[in-house]
Every structure is written in C-alpha cells, then in structure tokens.
Amino acid sequence: MKHKAQILDKEGIRRALTRIAHEIIERNKGTDGLALIGIRRRGVPLAERLAAKIREIEGSSVPVGTLDITLYRDDLTTMDQQPLVHRTEVSFPVSDKKIVLVDDVIYTGRTIRAALDAIMDLGRPRVIQLAVLIDRGHRELPIRADYVGKNVPTSRREVVAVRLQETDGEERVLILEKD
C-alpha cells in the first residue's frame, strides 16, 4: 500500500477529541445518564480518551464499555479469514442510558449497523449517538455520525489508517492507496 497523505498528527487527534468531548457534554447538557461504548479495536481507546476528557471538563466520570461486533457482522461468509471473536464488556446496564458509540472511521455504515444491533441486545438505551474520529463517506446505509473529528473525502481505492498509541505505538491518521 502506498502512503498518500497524513491527515491528522498527534496534536490534530488530541484537538479533535477535545472538541468532540465538549460537543458531547453540550448536546447532552452534562453527563447525567451518559455512557460511552467503544467498538473494538480502535474505538475502545478513543472512548477511554473521550471519557478522560469529559472528566477533565465536567469533573464527573462516565462509564466506558467495549463492544465486539464480530457475531453481528453480515459479511462473515465473504471474508477470507474468519475473525476472532472477542469479549463484549459492558459492565453497566444500557437501559435508559444515553449511549455514545465511538469508532475510529465511519465508511459504509455496516459496522455501525451491527453495533446498533449488538447494543439493542444488551438493553434499551434512551438514545444512541455516534462519535467517530474520521468520516470518509461512501455510506451504504442511512447512518450518520453525531460527532465527527474530521470529514475526509476519499475514493474507494483509498484506505484510511488510524494509528493510535494504545494499539499501534504511534499517533496519526494516514491515507493509503491500494496498489
């Protein structure tokens, strides 16, 4: 894969998350009943960072859960490699909560659809909102994010690679092109 451009550096990611944290607090009028759920893998550290920022700003903690959507995917038969199933760890009841679902990139919208199904199986939240670091377009389902770090128009040949310290040992967002 060819390296094409860097769209966010470490500072850029930090600023985007700070802004999203403020927007989440503003839209929900505080942190009452709020909970964050990160989609494996890179949504999880992003959700944890957002929770830390919200605590910094508001002084109150919001619970963070981890969602694995492998069992909810609609493309398992067409994949070369069957993905490993990981644990879903949502230790708080989701019923009546204001859930902010967090992921790194939104693309076709199929991952988010699967995540919505998975959350609904855990209970009945009052509302589900969506926060993503990058929106790269090309939606195949009527799904949009409530909080976006950066909108990046891409072609389908391109790949958006989010690299985070916790999962990749570096901190940046790149556009790569398939050979």
Binding site: D68, T70, L71, Y72, R73, D74, D75, L76, T77, T78, M79, Q81, Q82, P83, L84, V85, H86, R87, T88, E89, D117, A118, D121, L122, G123
Partner: protein, 310 residues
C-alpha cells in the same frame, strides 16, 4: 490463527493451537449466555441437525441451545423416530440431510469412527458428539474450558481421571486434550477397566485411588455403567464405591481448592458422594453451562461464522 477444519471428529488430531482457539472463542460466547437476551444473529439462515443414534438429553439439548443462541435453525433427528428403524444406512441418512441443506451435522453413534465416515460422505461440517468408546471431543473441550476458567492455565496441572477408563470416550478425549495442553494426567480404576498399554497416551496409571488423588488439581469422576457389573468387570456396586468412589475424606488428599468434575449423569453414592457432588469444590453445574458456550464456539468456527450474503 485461522480455522481451517471442516469437522471436529476428536481431539487426537487437533493441535494445541486449535484447542486454544476453540477455548478462546468460547469466552465471548459465555458472555452471551449471561445476557438477558441470549441471542446473536451470527448463524442466521444456517441449519444444524443433531443426529443421535444413542439417547442423550444433555449433549443434544446443549447443541440445540447453542445453535438457537446463534440464530441457526436446529432440527433433531433421533433414530427411534426416523427411517433408521426402517434400515436406512448412516450414509444414506446423511446424504438426505445434506440434500435438505444441513450446514452442520452433530452425530452421536455407538460405533467408533462413524463421524469420520460421515465427514467423508457429506459436504456439511460434522461434529462428533460421542462415537462408541472412541472420543467425545466437545465434552473434553468443555472440561478444559471449565478448568482453564477456574485455574487460569492448563499447563502444569495434575488431573486425575477416575473410573471406567476402558469404555469412556470422555476419558480418552480428555487425555488427548489435557496432555496436549501441558497438563499431567493420572488415571485410576479397577484393573479390568484400564486399557492395556494406555501409558502410551502419556498418562500415569495409578492402582490405588489415594495415589491418583495425591496433590491433584482436578479430580474428574466418570460414570460407572451399572450393567458392567453383570459383565464381571467389578464385583459389586458397594465395593466399587468403597474403592473408587469420591467422598470428602478422599478429596482431602487432593490440593486445597481442587476442582471436582463429572460429565453426568451421576450415580450419587456410587462414584461420587452427594456431599462432594454438591460441595464447594464441585464445578459440575458450571460444566453444563460451559458446554453450551463451547458448542457455540464450535458452531461459529465450523459454520463459517457468517450468514448468506444479505
């Protein structure tokens, strides 16, 4: 690692890495069992057939629930109500099921090797749910899962398997499985029920139960089939219970906190005393729950995981 097998026929041919993948996949499956809504859409549109030539409530129900929790359609065929009583061969029954679109066939059969024959005959995935005195891989996997969950690691543990080793497919699969994962396995039972040259499987044979229990981390009791007494394999039920039954006094020889296991159904007061079966060391009920999680993991891995293209 990537799962490549079409079937689960036994643990003898599985690698430690494959066993580990199955056990790892069962962990998130168990999380689903703890939810209010125990259902995920993973195998929607897939069909799982349980084909049982021997009676079994526990294993069959466990497979059926596992299939339902993954949203597969499950059909149960027991031989008493099918064309098997009209003399249809296993191969023909299987071909019929395959033609009807079964994706996974779970087979229990009194003949060792029947699942292997079936696996070669039909394109569907085949899971051995017990064949003769050969193997019962899913029981051994759920036993390993239970031990790993409680003890953290299987390597280095002392596992004592006590009872009718000769006729036990559960014992055989557990010996393959636990030794592959680095545990030390000791077996014990009446001399008439210990297969000759079983040491070749890498186990230590103990003639006295006390020897087998000494310092054991896991004590696995096997069900004694009472009809074996008529075959002259042991003199009396009472004597069997006295020499090879697990009671509180004997259990004290094992390591503190040792796990007591039994594949069920139990003969209470024969191979296991009620106080031990219901005691703090017993994980017998958890074995049943974990059985569903392990079978879900297998159905996920063999069923391709996916659903037809939407």
């Amino acid at each position: 690692m990537n799962w490549k097998r079409k079937d689960i026929l036994g643990l003898q041919n599985l690698s430690a890495e494959e066993i580990r993948l199955i056990l790892d996949t069962a962990v998130p499956m168990k999380e689903i069992l703890g939810r209010a809504i125990k259902k995920v859409p993973t195998l929607r549109g897939r069909t799982v057939v349980t084909l049982f030539y021997e009676p079994s409530t526990r294993t069959r129900t466990s497979f059926e629930l596992a299939a339902k929790y993954l949203s597969a359609d499950s059909v149960n065929l027991s031989t008493s109500t099918s064309s098997v009583v009209k003399g249809e061969t296993l191969k023909d029954t299987a071909r019929t099921l395959a033609a009807m679109g079964a994706d996974v066939v779970v087979l229990r059969h009194p003949m060792a090797g029947a699942p292997n024959l079936l696996a070669r005959t039909i394109p569907a995935a085949v899971i051995n749910a017990g064949d003769g005195a050969h193997e019962h891989p899913t029981q051994a996997l759920l036993d390993m899962f239970t031990v790993r969950e409680k003890m953290g690691e299987l390597a280095g543990l002392n596992v004592a398997i006590i009872g009718d080793i000769l006729h036990s497919r559960v014992a055989r699969s557990n010996i393959w499985g636990f030794t592959k994962m680095g545990a030390r396995v000791r077996i014990c039972g009446p001399a008439t029920m210990i297969p000759p040259e079983i040491e070749a499987m890498g186990v230590q044979v103990c003639t006295r139960m006390e020897e087998a229990l000494d310092g054991a981390d896991v004590v696995m009791m096997l069900r004694i089939q009472l009809e074996r007494q008529q075959q002259g394999l042991f003199p009396s039920i009472r004597e069997y219970a006295r020499l090879f039954g697990l009671n509180r006094k004997r259990l004290a020889l094992a390591r503190p906190g040792a796990l007591v296991m039994h594949p069920g159904p139990m003969n209470r007061g024969v191979e296991i005393s009620p106080e031990v079966a219901d005691g703090v060391n017993s994980v017998i009920n958890e074995q049943v729950t974990n059985g569903v999680a392990v079978r879900m993991a297998l159905l996920y891995l063999l069923g391709g995981g996916g659903m037809p293209d939407a």
